[in-house]
Amino acid sequence: MTEREIWAAILVAAVVSLAVRALPLTLIRRRIRNRFIRSFLYYVPYATLAVMTFPAMIDAAAHPAAGIAALAAGVISAGAGAGLFPVAIITCLTEYLAGLI
């Protein structure tokens, strides 16, 4: 692509991703009363984050066993009440050490 075409592509991508991110937040201004929709929106974050975590975490690791070790370390430390940063460090270190094997 030429310099100009690349800039156009970047601009189009930026506009589309802003629209996707901002439209619901700016358009839905009322409190949703419908019980199903409220429940649905309550469950969405957990489903999304869980779907994105597994098996992507295993695939991102050096080998599946290292990924599973990191996942287990993350679940255990998060379950024990560790915060975002400690859990992130623990999973990284576990993956690094398990990946060496």
């Binding site: 949703i32 019980r35 309550y42 779907v51 990284c92």
Partner: protein, 244 residues
């Protein structure tokens, strides 16, 4: 009163910096490898930096650089960016229920711009209305580190050892676990939903390899959340006056 508000804002900014930093560090590593892809597609360091500041989405940007490298048509780029980022529609809708009533149009627009998987995670991790000062600060720090990572990746190529990049790329998932596991311990339905999400996501990735990760996330999120909402609708009193 005024005084108390500024103090509160300052507190939120400090908390945003504290929580944005680890996210930014994970971002830097992921964006670094993204920069290597961008370099291959022919982007200049400035183009990579601008693209990352504005798009700040790993899957979306990988797709963007791949399409630029393949000389794809503009409409095709728009369609793929829409699909890879579709989960943000859901996150944005979920956040719309957690905006304080006095949040302005620009407050909502700006918060929408800030949505990434991790920033959304921060918003979810704190119950009640979201704080713009908190989310925007965490986002700004993380986004500059994200764009900086892309820039360095384009400029420097492979400096970090591959082992380190791999280990750092797992950090993001560790953060996701820190967000979803504590509520799952308290609420059996959430625990079941997380387990079902893991299983379905794994099955879909292995049985339907043609389905992109972005689409898989969207389809499974909608299906599983709808099933949970049908089977286990939430009582309004569980949420009190404040948003879930």
């Amino acid at each position: 009163m005024m005084r108390r508000e500024t103090d509160e804002t300052r507190r939120m900014i400090r908390r945003g910096l504290r929580d944005g930093l680890p996210i930014g560090m994970g971002y830097f590593a992921v964006a670094f490898s993204l920069g290597i892809t961008a370099r291959g597609a022919g982007l200049s360091p400035l183009q990579g930096w601008v693209a990352s500041i504005l798009n700040h989405a790993s899957a979306g940007e990988y797709a963007l650089y791949a399409l630029i490298g393949a000389r794809a048509a503009v409409w095709e780029i728009a369609a793929v960016i829409f699909v890879t980022n579709m989960r943000y529609l859901l996150m944005s809708a979920a956040l719309s229920q957690r905006a304080a009533p006095e949040t302005s149009f620009f407050g909502r627009l700006g918060t929408g711009f800030c949505i990434t998987d991790e920033i959304f995670g921060l918003a979810v991790a704190h119950p009640g209305y979201f704080s713009c000062a908190y989310l925007w600060t965490a986002f700004a720090l993380a986004d500059f580190m994200w764009a900086g990572g892309t820039l360095c990746g384009i400029l420097a190529g492979n400096i970090l050892p591959a082992r380190v990049v791999t280990a750092l790329s797992v950090a993001i998932y560790g953060m996701f676990l820190a967000i979803i596991i504590p509520p799952a311990r308290k609420n059996l339905v959430v625990a079941g939903l997380v387990a079902a999400s893991f299983l379905c996501s794994f099955a879909a990735s292995r049985l339907l390899p043609g389905l992109s990760e972005g689409m898989r996330t969207v389809i499974l999120t909608v299906a599983l959340s709808a099933a949970a909402a049908l089977l286990f609708p939430r009582e309004d009193k569980e949420e009190g006056r404040e948003a879930p």
